[in-house]
Symmetry: C2
Subunit: 201 residues, 2 copies
């Protein structure tokens, strides 16, 4: 039937973009209940559902400018347009840690850093399981890395390489710069050793 | 501190893109629990959280090819990459209606059409409130239109115009073609009437 409806059409989606001018909208007197007053504590299942769609488990590997040491920076975050910043503050209140800050432009994020709080995040999502396969998988890789960091494995080069390999295993499209770099460093050290050996006593 | 970590960095995000090759991933023998077995009934709060992030209330206004009649097509949908199609089937099972179908390309959607089922969707989200302002607002506009359709207001031009105006009120960036078109039709009819009157008996 719909195949016949072709000459002209107008599709309208109730997107998140449509509420930029809330005061104007409300002035039309539609039967609009305010979500502002829904300030009761969030339900753990709601949190998991929301994070299943909007959450992100992230690991940065940064090299220090001066010391050239590699540093692991795991992070949990939820990014929203600033119009929904309020819900990020409620999530922050729910967990009792983390921060709401600018992501970029008009986007805000709730983010959790630091092993102590990330362990609580891991514990929470172990108790409140994700329902999408992809989020559950990414969470399991993330929690595996957190576990390794708890065991201080990331402080050794072997541990960092293991973590970088774990990253490389699941993210096949990106060549881990850490692995490339650490290999280059090793080759350079070996080369330097060969070159410097004849000059040593 | 992080400001000093500038020379080289590698950021890795556990995105939904990373699980394209699941069999390869699993062959590495990581401690990956499968989400496949989590087939228990979904929690209503999880549904609301997931829809708060991923759901969409949508209204199409299509003009029939032959009759030129305008038709309203309200729809509720959740779009996911096909890797997470399984969760859409579980949501379909939860509600007991709707269909899982192709959205476009590698994306699938759970969609609900038809007043009878959309009334059940409205009832569900009236009982299980959204927590983001934007989703709650879009839901309220959508349920207002569904209510008008229940009252058969959409069958009259006045009702359709009222609904189109409601759409125009919240979506200021798009000029509703229905409103333009219905005004043009009216003007053409008036013009035709003036032109045809002298020829009539």
């Amino acid at each position: 039937m719909l195949g016949h409806l072709r000459i002209s059409h107008y599709h309208w989606t109730f997107s998140r973009e449509i509420f930029k001018e809330r005061r104007e909208m409300n002035s039309h007197g539609e039967n609009m209940l305010s979500a502002d007053n829904q300030q009761e504590r969030l339900d753990p299942n709601w949190i998991t559902g929301f994070v299943d769609g909007e959450g992100c488990f992230y690991v940065g590997i940064n090299q220090h400018n001066r010391t050239k040491q590699w540093q692991l920076l795991p992070e949990f975050r939820i990014v929203q347009h600033q119009r929904d910043e309020q819900v990020l503050h409620r999530i922050q209140k729910f967990f009792g840690f983390g921060a709401v800050t600018v992501n970029h432009g008009d986007r805000k994020e709730f983010r959790v850093r630091g092993l102590e709080n990330l362990n609580k995040i891991v514990e929470f999502f172990n108790q409140n399981k994700f329902q999408t396969r992809s989020k559950q998988k990414s969470f399991e890789v993330f929690s595996c890395i957190i576990k390794m960091m708890n065991n201080k494995e990331h402080l050794s080069e072997a541990g960092r390489k293991k973590i970088a390999n774990l990253i490389a295993t699941v993210n096949k499209k990106v060549i881990p710069k850490y692995l490339i770099s650490s290999e280059t460093v090793r080759q350079n050290l070996a080369r330097d050793k060969i070159q410097s050996d004849p000059l040593s006593d």
